[in-house]
């Protein structure tokens, strides 16, 4: 084995690979923007909070779709399960049975994460044996199944569990017993979502920059070759799937906690499709694509609704149009366009 110290000047390719994980100043931008939004647009804090949570959800989708190349149209199965796990724990009627810790936010997000991971392990173990269209249909089927279950379980069991279509309303306890959730100004809610996103993002960022993350890209680029270099592909895919589902579950838990209620919408196909569109809009396999995609999608939706109204839902037309344009003209997403522009500018400067 060659000793790295013996080579006086490692080649640019080697340096690039060794330094890829380093933080760059530009990476502070989204976080500065997120802090600025809180103060500049106090009227939009609920929307901004939702954006933060959806970014985390989108990151979980990007991890499997963008990095490992595992297609899914049903990641709401895990998002929704995390959401219901946190919501059920926070149900006011059950607090005494749950030693009064059920409404603790951190207990809720732990439960949501574990619920997402467990469901990911069981379902992934089965559905990851398939590929492409079959896999896509199975992820979709799982979401539909859970949607029906959440909707009908009260009727089937004759007791009030999920609240069916109406869902569950609850009140979260203060975070760590100190920071109270704030249903009017959403300040605690916003910073809570912000903090969880920072943690979730750092986890995803660490993973994609690790040797494990490199193997995910290898699986996406050429599965046959991965087998031929001795990689246990199936195990790696299940591993990343469980991690992704855990993060989706975490996002689901935060989603309901900051809004004090859960509804059947967390399992709906509409959200599963939307989150995939967001990741594609922003650019798959690029981490920050999730940030841009969610932001652009949510702003487009909101803006169109404000200007043109909600009936008919013009925003679907706008978002659909944006998706078509992206897929046709910028397959690497908005971030891909940004990369091209910066490359062009860099060339001109030289």
């Amino acid at each position: 084995m060659a000793d790295a110290n013996m080579t006086p000047q490692p080649s640019p390719a080697v340096q690039q690979l060794l330094r890829r994980h380093r933080f760059r100043v530009v990476e502070l931008l989204p976080w500065i923007a997120a802090i600025a939004v809180f103060y500049l647009f106090p009227g939009y804090r609920l929307l901004a909070t939702q954006v933060l949570v959806l970014i985390l959800f989108a990151l979980s989708v990007d991890l499997i779709v963008g990095y490992a190349g595992i297609v899914t149209l049903g990641h709401t199965a895990y998002f929704g399960t995390g959401a219901y796990a946190a919501a059920l724990l926070a149900r006011p009627e059950w607090q005494e049975t749950l030693w009064n810790v059920g409404a603790q936010p951190l207990v809720g997000i732990a439960a949501g994460t574990v619920a997402g991971a467990l469901l990911g392990l069981i379902s992934g173990w089965i559905i990851l044996r398939t590929r492409e269209l079959t896999l896509l249909m199975l992820t979709l089927a799982l979401t539909f199944l859970l949607h029906e279950l959440a909707k009908d379980i009260d009727g089937l069991t004759g007791t009030l569990i999920t609240g069916g279509f109406d869902g569950i309303n609850f009140t979260m306890n203060p975070i760590l017993g100190i920071f109270e959730f704030d249903p009017i100004f959403y300040s605690t809610n916003y910073w809570y979502a912000f903090a969880v996103l920072v943690v979730g993002f750092l986890i995803v960022r660490t993973i994609v920059n690790s040797p494990f993350g490199a193997t995910l890209v290898g699986i996406r680029e050429n599965v046959r070759r991965m087998h031929a270099v001795g990689s246990p592909v199936q195990r790696r895919m299940l591993m990343v799937y469980v991690i992704s589902c855990a993060i989706a579950g975490l996002a689901g838990a935060v989603w309901v906690q900051v809004q004090d209620n859960v509804t059947i919408a967390v399992y709906e196909f509409e959200l599963a499709g939307a989150i995939l569109i967001m990741v594609i809009l922003g650019g798959t396999g690029r981490l920050y694509g999730a940030f841009i995609g969610v932001l652009v999608y949510m702003i487009l939706e909101n803006l169109t609704e404000t200007v043109l109204g909600t009936d008919p839902p013009y925003w679907e037309l706008v978002v659909g149009g944006a998706l078509v344009l992206t897929v046709l003209f910028a397959p690497r997403g908005l971030l891909g366009i940004g990369e091209d522009v910066s490359t062009m500018l860099g060339r001109k400067r030289r």
């Binding site: 060659a2 080649s11 690979l17 993350g213 070759r225 031929a228």
Partner: protein
């Protein structure tokens, strides 16, 4: 020379290896032995089942019957990745690379897998410079170092073939199966591939599938002829060259030497 090779212990062996696709038999009771340090060629007309045979050995295809042994161990039911871990490595007839990645990244994936660090997820790639240095070292061995930062898609086909070989070497094979390593390479460049193959470490047992008879006779100390999924003959280049049956079914069509 041949006597020395023959006295080596069998590194790779197949016994009664069979494969059917429905009624179509693509491998018929193939008994084959590759000795330690061998330079062995597998030839046969198009559709003879050469690549199928490689896929059966590597586990990319499940055999319908028979067994595969590596260094005396029965590996018939070991996964493809498991066989690679045991030192059974192949290259592909058609480049099978990570086309969207750089040449160095291609090598990195093989080296990190072989070094057993590929499942680590808590520390970045850059925290293990030795693995990256080893990937670079392999590129230098095949004079690919100047292409390290280029994407596979930016490389001429012949250089891509070299990357195939570099990846195989990264896995430190005990048995190396080269599936038409010079296929698709312009003849002006093919000597680079052949030099690389001639320079392979002696201790590796090499099985080469090749159409170019000049290459076969230059490289191989032993030749097996496969026809319609069955072994027609095995012998030294001289024996195969003078085998009337082989000449009639195979060499007669394409051999003008």
């Amino acid at each position: 020379m041949n006597a020395v090779v023959d006295s080596g212990r069998p590194m790779l062996e197949t016994r009664g290896l069979r494969k059917n696709f429905g009624a179509l038999e693509v491998a018929r009771d193939v008994d084959f032995t590759l000795h330690a340090g061998a330079r062995h060629a597998l030839i046969g007309p198009n559709g003879a089942g050469k690549t199928t045979f490689v896929n059966l050995i590597t586990g990319a295809l499940d055999a319908s019957g028979g067994d595969v042994f590596l260094n005396g161990d029965r590996i018939t039911h070991v996964s493809e990745a498991g066989r690679v871990k045991r030192g059974l490595v192949r290259t592909f007839q058609i480049n099978t690379l990570f086309t969207g990645l750089t040449v160095l990244e291609n090598l990195y994936l093989a080296v990190s897998e072989h070094a057993g660090v590929a499942a680590r997820m808590l520390r970045p790639v850059g925290s293990r410079p030795k693995v990256v240095a080893e990937a670079m070292h392999l590129l230098e061995m095949l004079q690919l170092q100047d292409d390290a930062a280029r994407l596979i898609t930016e490389l001429p086909y012949g250089r891509q073939r070299l990357v195939e070989i570099a990846i195989a070497l990264a896995l430190e094979p005990r048995v190396l199966l080269l599936d038409e390593p010079a296929a698709g390479v312009p003849s002006a460049e093919s000597h680079i591939i052949l030099d690389a193959i001639s320079g392979l470490p002696e201790e590796i047992a090499v099985l080469i599938i090749e159409h170019d008879m000049d290459v076969v006779f230059r490289f191989a100390e032993k030749i097996t002829v496969l026809v319609s999924g069955a072994v027609l003959a095995t012998g030294t280049p001289d024996e195969i060259g003078s085998n009337a049956e082989v000449r009639s079914v195979y060499l007669g069509e394409g051999h003008h030497a």
